[in-house]
């Protein structure tokens, strides 16, 4: 056993050495900083990191802070609508392009183009479009429709949907590109077979093609989920969390407490909560990916 192990190490020594830098980066830069943040969330750190231990105090304060609870609620609303609309819209766009339309590459570029734009730019553009003094409302009123109202970014009840609108505009192109790539990989024989059987196209997409695209779907959902959790720049550019706290998101809460309010303890507690949330969402995905594969192999 020992000899075998030594032989194994010897044979792969070069590979192990080559992997060392990567392993070091993962351990220190990713896992290490993560552990350090979690550790700080149990301290009373304010402006400077402290090494004392105050138990769950920061977490108690955190969940007693109405702005944090508002942020979490907002994130839930954004996550639901953003995922749903982005995904459905992206699939429909991909299917539309898949019909061998004329000027396909033009459409593809147009739909994917927003994704090439940074969130800050996207946020600013939509802020201008929806700003009642500059955007659509002002233009329509200029045309003589004096009663026209489109005040989403300044209306506390609607501002979240303005953010969702901007992010959907930004993100659905990505879903389209991924799904379209998947659609192009579907064997033409399947289409011919279903045509012979007289199955309507929508039914083929829903019952046969989409299930075959499972890896693409999971990839796009994971990418969309990540952009939800780290959502920060689009909110800062569009509303800066306002009016009031109506469009605050957790990432902004963390950044504000970390830098402006010199409250490292609370900020790291909030980011730990976000980390746990992400792990909870990702766990089933990873589980299904990983274990179903190994199950099939066995």
């Amino acid at each position: 056993m020992g000899a075998e192990f030594t032989r194994h190490v010897k044979r792969n020594l070069v590979a192990y050495i080559a992997l060392l830098p990567m392993a070091a980066v993962v351990i220190f830069a990713y896992l290490g900083t993560m552990a350090w943040s979690v550790r700080l969330s149990f301290s009373s750190s304010k402006l400077l990191p402290r090494s004392d231990f105050v138990g769950l105090n920061q977490y108690v304060t955190l969940f007693d802070t109405s702005r944090w609870l508002t942020s979490l609620g907002n994130l839930a609303v954004i996550a639901f609508f953003f995922l749903l609309i982005c995904f459905v819209l992206g699939c429909l766009l991909a299917i539309f392009i898949d019909q061998n339309v004329r000027g396909e590459s033009l459409f593809r570029t147009v739909f994917l183009y927003p994704y090439a734009m940074s969130f800050v730019v996207a946020g600013l553009i939509w802020q201008w479009i929806l700003n009642p003094d500059l955007g659509i409302q002002a233009t329509m009123r200029g045309f003589g429709f004096s009663g026209f109202v489109l005040d989403w970014v300044v209306n506390p009840r609607m501002v979240l949907y303005a953010v969702i609108l901007a992010t959907v505009w930004h993100g659905s192109g990505l879903v389209m590109a991924l799904i379209l790539a998947g659609l192009r990989g579907i064997d033409g024989e399947i289409w011919r077979a279903t045509r012979i059987d007289g199955i309507p196209a929508w039914r083929v997409y829903l019952s046969i093609v989409l299930p075959m695209l499972r890896p693409m779907i999971i990839t796009s959902l994971v990418l969309l989920s990540i952009s939800i959790v780290k959502m920060y720049d689009v909110v800062v550019a569009m509303t800066n969390g306002g009016p009031g706290t109506a469009s605050e998101v957790p990432a902004k809460f963390i950044m504000d407490n970390l830098f402006e309010r010199a409250n490292i303890g609370l900020a790291t507690a909030a980011s730990t909560v976000m980390l746990i949330t992400v792990l909870m969402v990702m766990a089933p995905v990873i589980y299904s990916q990983y274990f179903r594969k190994s199950g099939r192999a066995a």
């Binding site: 109405s66 300044v154 009031g244 109506a246 402006e260 409250n263």
Partner: protein, 413 residues
């Protein structure tokens, strides 16, 4: 051949360093981290840089855009053991924790030589003096709660003189609204909404309530009818703000006054820069109201430079020279004229300052009317929660009782 040359050069440098010849010729290097990047601000800090260079120093400018980004940069450098010579902070508690950790040099030597105990206004001295030692050099006093008005807009509504009491102010807002002018120009951002609230608190509640609520965090004061009236008055201002207010930048709100589209704006004295750039004249096109009661408090905000810990004698010398230069009466007047603020000391020649600054200097000469800025009376995170309450109070329905409860929770921690 080249190796030979290199060796000669190296030994020459070594010799020079050893004998100290080269060092004596070198000017005092001072790296200064600050966030003054806009037109007027960078012109103002150039006054310090020029004066420092003229006094035999070498100013190394390190401007970082954005206050919190610049402060983070300064703190990271301090923690990392490679601090700058000086760093800009607000006159607040932002730097008190790094004093506590022993990461700043005190500047008592310069302060006692220049008799800071006498020349500095009391709230400013208290903000920069910790445990009996001066740790920061105040460079300006900003009063964040001036009420600005557009003369033309007021005339349009038939108002011939600016208000002097809260009642007159509220009546004028009604007149402006009736005349089709935006009565109150407000940028709906957290800090601006907070400025408006602070203005109501100082003008309705006066210096006493300001200090007992924000300073002493006194429960009886927070629950008093006076503070409830402050909350009610603040909320009652909402109908006077236009619909597009949320998210607006402060200078865009000032632009509404410049274009005579709005009547009043509550903003710090830095708003003067916007009026000046638009070639507007104080007293003719626009005016400033320091407060709405005869004894209205003058809130002392502003900026300070701190000097990170170092044992390097050259750096300490540079730090002391910086303090001397920055607080020098002549430099103070020149700097503050460009910055829009007023000098930190009363023993300066005010004749070259503009009308609003002179008015400010006059009010400030009465110690009873000097009050510290809210950020000097509480930790940053406490002030942050207070601002969260104010912005929610402004933007979402909240009863006075709920607001009082939340203020108490935030202030009492």
């Amino acid at each position: 051949m080249t190796a030979m040359k290199q060796m000669v050069a190296v030994s020459a440098i070594a010799l020079a360093a050893a004998t100290g010849i080269a060092r004596a010729e070198e000017p005092l290097n001072a790296e200064v981290i600050h966030w003054w990047t806009s037109g007027g601000e960078s012109a103002a800090i150039a006054v310090f840089a020029d004066a420092f260079n003229a006094a035999g120093g070498k100013w190394v400018d390190n401007a970082v855009a954005g206050g919190s980004a610049a402060r983070s940069a300064a703190i990271n450098r301090i923690i990392g053991g490679d601090p700058s010579t000086a760093a800009l902070f607000n006159t607040s508690r932002q730097y008190h924790e790094i004093i506590g950790e022993g990461l700043l040099n005190d500047i008592d030597a310069v302060a006692s030589k220049n008799d800071w105990d006498k020349v500095l206004p009391e709230p400013i001295a208290r903000a920069v003096k910790v445990d009996g030692k001066y740790y920061a050099a105040p460079v300006n006093i900003h009063m964040p709660l001036w009420i600005w008005y557009s003369t033309a807009a007021l005339n349009k509504a038939g108002i011939d003189k600016p208000p002097e009491t809260m009642e007159q102010f509220l009546a004028d807002l009604d007149k402006l609204k009736a005349a089709g002018v935006i009565p109150l120009a407000l940028g709906g951002q957290r800090w601006q909404e907070n400025s408006l609230f602070s203005a109501v608190l100082t003008n309705v509640g006066g210096a006493a309530l300001w200090k007992s609520v924000y300073g002493d965090k006194d429960e009886a004061a927070i629950r008093s009818p006076e503070f409830r009236k402050v909350i009610e008055t603040f909320v009652s201002l909402k109908p006077y703000v236009d619909q597009a207010s949320p998210g607006r930048n402060w200078n865009d709100a000032t632009a509404l006054l410049i274009k005579d589209e709005a009547g009043f704006q509550v903003m710090g004295d830095w708003a003067k820069g916007e009026f000046k750039q638009a070639n507007k004249e104080i007293g003719k096109d626009y005016g400033c109201i320091p407060g709405l009661r005869p004894d209205s408090p003058y809130v002392l905000g502003g900026d300070v430079f701190v000097f990170p810990k170092t044992d390097n004698a050259e750096q300490v010398k540079a730090q002391h020279l910086l303090v001397e230069i920055m607080t020098d009466p002549a430099v103070q007047v020149k700097f503050n004229n460009l910055k829009g603020s007023i000098p930190i000391r009363s023993d300066v020649d005010v004749s070259s300052l503009d009308a609003c600054a002179q008015l400010g200097m006059k009010i400030m000469s009465d110690p009873a009317r000097q009050v510290p800025d809210a950020s000097q009376m509480m930790e940053e995170y406490v002030y942050g929660s207070v601002q969260d309450i104010v912005t929610e109070l402004w933007n979402t329905p909240m009863t006075v009782d709920q607001a009082v409860d939340r203020f108490e929770k935030a202030l009492k921690g």
